[in-house]
């Protein structure tokens, strides 16, 4: 049970959002520097728990993502002055992270500020990093007990970008395959649909922090325990999860979507030809669907549960009767209206 654990932290360093967060008219303002000091205490605590715990920190910036720190990359020893009062690994960690965050923020040009935050890039990088750590190419001993227990913590301050739906879902499935737990710490803004799903599907916890002044305590109690301890100490999980998906055509988050019966692409309105697999749908079904669902859900469809209880996976709310896909039989492909499909992004 007591084995090393690896933690990858993804920091959302959106200049706009941090600016908003620091403003005094917010109920509990939190500046980036206060946040970083809380975070460093948390990271030190993770490193303090076990000598061979490892850490990697990634920053998601407008339009790009960078690795800020990792325990495996050699650091410039000379850059950090020796100090009798601080444990040296902590000192190196603190100095490096503070310095790289400052460097990265300085290097953001005015044109880039409005570019979307590259959370997915950082998430992908951290998954690659974990893959490298847990599957060392040169290790001959296949002793699984020696490998660290990996997890990812995403600290998010920006709202969802629906355009990244497919890539987020694909990252989630990679994380599931790598047995990585994704924890999400959401600050200030409204709940993120995609990150909620990420935490739920990988068995992590999603916590939206309303009182940033207690941030450190939240981090310590909820995100410090490695997955192996969480059998003993219960970490809060969300009881309501937004399972909605984004459509492939306009990248909108949809309550009711239409799924291509051949390739499972999601669309926000009935389309004659699937943009992904070029399947043509019969006019009759199309007209019927359009008639039944202009903007209001058809009668007989249960009211949409956007907050579905976590333990009951929602099913498609109604399935249009009709033939099977063309490849299988002579029947015509149909567009199926669904509330949300878990498998829709696996393609």
């Amino acid at each position: 049970m007591d084995k090393a654990s690896h933690l990858s932290v993804i920091l959302d360093l959106s200049p706009t959002q941090w600016q908003l967060s620091a403003q005094s008219n917010v109920s509990h303002p939190l500046t980036l520097s206060t946040f970083v000091s809380h975070l460093l205490a948390f990271l030190n605590a993770h490193m303090a728990c076990k000598d061979d715990n490892s850490l990697a920190v990634f920053g998601a910036l407008p339009g790009k993502s960078v690795m800020l720190y990792s325990t495996t990359t050699p650091m410039d020893e000379k850059a950090v002055a020796a100090d009798a009062n601080t444990y040296r690994p902590f000192k190196i960690l603190d100095t490096t992270i503070t310095q790289t965050i400052l460097d990265q923020i300085e290097s953001i040009s005015d044109n880039d500020v409005e570019a979307p935050i590259d959370i997915v890039g950082a998430l992908t990088k951290s998954l690659c990093y974990i893959n490298r750590v847990t599957n060392p190419a040169n290790s001959r001993s296949e002793d699984a007990t020696l490998l660290p227990d990996p997890r990812i913590l995403i600290v998010s301050v920006s709202p969802d970008q629906s355009s990244s739906y497919i890539s987020v879902m694909n990252s989630i499935f990679s994380a599931q395959k790598l047995k990585v737990t994704i924890d999400v710490c959401k600050l200030h803004v409204a709940d993120s649909v995609f990150l909620q799903q990420a935490a739920h599907l990988t068995g992590g916890s999603y916590i939206s922090i309303e009182r940033p002044d207690a941030l450190l305590q939240f981090l310590m109690m909820s995100f410090l325990p490695p997955p192996s301890i969480r059998q003993l100490i219960s970490v809060p999980t969300q009881d309501k999860i937004d399972f909605r998906a984004a459509c492939f055509c306009h990248k909108n988050i949809v309550d009711i979507g239409f799924v291509c019966s051949v390739c499972l692409s999601i669309f926000c309105q009935p389309v004659p030809v699937c943009s992904t697999c070029q399947t043509k749908f019969p006019m009759k079904t199309l007209l019927r669907l359009k008639a039944a669902h202009p903007h209001t859900p058809p009668p007989g469809t249960p009211p949409l549960r956007s907050g579905t209880p976590a333990n009951s996976l929602p099913r498609s709310t109604s399935i249009a009767p009709g033939g099977t896909p063309r490849q299988v039989s002579n029947g015509n492909p149909n567009m199926l209206p669904v509330a949300r499909s878990n498998t829709s992004a696996t393609r």
Partner: protein, 480 residues
């Protein structure tokens, strides 16, 4: 053939499962001593690392709270299957005086809280992580390889001296201080003549892993420190300071207390620190020191046994009891010689066989079958690990051939064929009814070890005697 029960847990998990040996020592110390120890951030950090995972999490939960929290609030965080582990963790923390009281409200020891916070956030003026020495142009800092070679040489000298003490060969003697420590710890004794002989606990010691060996010696050192009127807090905090230092750096002796300066000499003998010369104003911790509170291997690769021979293991054991050890390290060969009949030696290979006689010899020396098996398991060659399929790992498919394991255990059982127990024999009962009446009484007390109704006698254990005697006397008195 009697069936042999394999041990319920293998050696690796039993080492990890039990709490650290030092914690037991700390728990026996007074509250005053511990509170003084907790004044140093480095000590708090090291002790924190020695705790179990759940205990660490509890400390972290409480660390940043200013006020005490009610016990039920904290208990609400624990899942139903974690209740027992939670209770144990609380009692461990309370015995360490980290958590002075936990029945009504939970709050950390104030000194511990302040120091651990300081360790994590940095700063303060305690200087407990070691004052780095000034750059010295004349004598550059020794390289990590130099330190490793030094530590290994010192450590193997001690072990080699122990293992060959009975064989008549004369290896290099460790320093007087080390010899005294070995004698005091009961690992060696001068039973026959002036020279020291290894004892049965010494043989067991040789089969432990280096980390356990190191702590066993250090614990003995701590017990001796009390007798030598050294301040235990100073000794402990120096050890903890060493464990938080960085390998390949040198530190100044200027800020050390007199006790700690005196310790430098002892620690140099054990190979824990390196000094250019005894009067030097600086010292460098070796890998033995910096891994004191971690789980990484405290010794680098063993001298001459190849690049990563030590960590990878070197023993191949076959079902026909033959053993091939790919090593040229005299210490490893000597340790194997404790329970293996060595047949032939090649530059990088030792061939031998596990025989009844060799195992009997080991058992006579006080080594147990489980220790032999765990030594063979931890040092098994990667080739042997390969044979264990990944999917079977969870079912604990044994690494060593089952026949050999069972046979070693059977040889141990042979030793225990006769068990002696003190007691009293009750004979000469007047009648069969009398005999049965007393026997029934004794059986109710569960003290009968052996009975024979034909001979009208039975054997009862020592503890039961006063009762049985009283019973017979009362009965005799009642009759007359």
């Amino acid at each position: 053939m009697p069936s042999v029960q394999p041990p319920t847990e293998d050696s690796a998990s039993s080492v990890e499962g039990t709490s650290h040996a030092l914690l037991a020592f700390l728990q026996s110390q007074s509250q005053n001593t511990l509170t003084r120890l907790y004044q140093k951030p480095s000590s708090c950090l090291s002790i924190f690392r020695l705790l179990g995972p759940l205990e660490r999490q509890l400390v972290m939960n409480l660390l940043w709270l200013e006020s005490a929290i009610p016990a039920p609030t904290m208990a609400a965080w624990v899942t139903s299957e974690g209740k027992k582990a939670y209770e144990i963790a609380l009692s461990v923390l309370s015995r360490l005086h980290v958590l002075p009281q936990y029945t009504v409200k939970l709050a950390l020891n104030v000194t511990f809280k302040t120091s651990l916070r300081q360790a994590i956030t940095g700063g303060g003026t305690s200087g407990s992580f070691g004052a780095p020495a000034e750059k010295d142009g004349k004598h550059p800092t020794p390289s990590i390889e130099t330190l490793d070679t030094y530590a290994l040489e010192r450590w193997e000298t001690i072990l080699h001296y122990m293992v060959s003490s009975g064989t008549g060969r004369n290896p290099t003697k460790p320093s007087q201080g080390v010899l005294y420590l070995l004698q005091r710890s009961g690992l060696m004794a001068n039973a026959h003549g002036p020279s020291l002989q290894i004892t049965s606990s010494g043989f067991q010691f040789l089969l432990h892993n280096p980390h356990a060996q190191l702590w066993e010696l250090l614990l003995q050192y701590l017990r001796m420190a009390e007798e030598r009127q050294m301040d235990l807090v100073e000794v402990l905090s120096f050890l903890f300071m060493l464990s938080t230092m960085e390998l390949g750096r040198d530190y100044s002796v200027e800020h050390l207390s007199p006790t700690q300066t005196a310790m430098l000499e002892d620690l140099r003998d054990y190979g824990i620190i390196w000094q250019r010369k005894p009067s030097s104003k600086r010292f460098s911790p070796t890998r033995l020191a910096t891994t004191l509170t971690s789980s990484s291997p405290p010794l680098p690769t063993s001298s001459g046994s190849g690049a990563d021979g030590q960590r990878q293991g070197f023993i191949i054991l076959e079902t026909n009891y033959r053993l091939y050890a790919y090593t040229d390290n005299p210490l490893q060969t000597a340790v194997l010689n404790l329970f293996v009949t060595l047949k032939s030696r090649f530059p990088n290979l030792v061939v031998g066989a596990i025989t009844r006689d060799s195992v009997k010899k080991a058992l006579a020396n006080g080594i147990t079958a489980d220790q032999i098996i765990s030594y063979l398991t931890t040092h098994a060659h990667p080739q042997m690990r390969k044979n264990v399929p990944r999917t079977h790992r969870t079912k604990q498919k044994p690494l060593l051939p089952v026949t050999v394991q069972d046979q070693i255990r059977l040889w141990e059982l042979e030793k225990n064929r006769v068990k002696s127990q003190e007691g009293y024999l009750y004979t000469a009962f007047a009648s069969q009814a009398d005999y049965e009446y007393v026997l029934n009484y004794a059986k109710q007390l569960d003290v009968v070890l052996w009975e024979s109704s034909a001979k009208r006698c039975f054997f009862g254990s020592l503890e039961g005697h006063p009762n049985i005697r009283g019973f017979i006397e009362r009965r005799a008195a009642g009759k007359s």
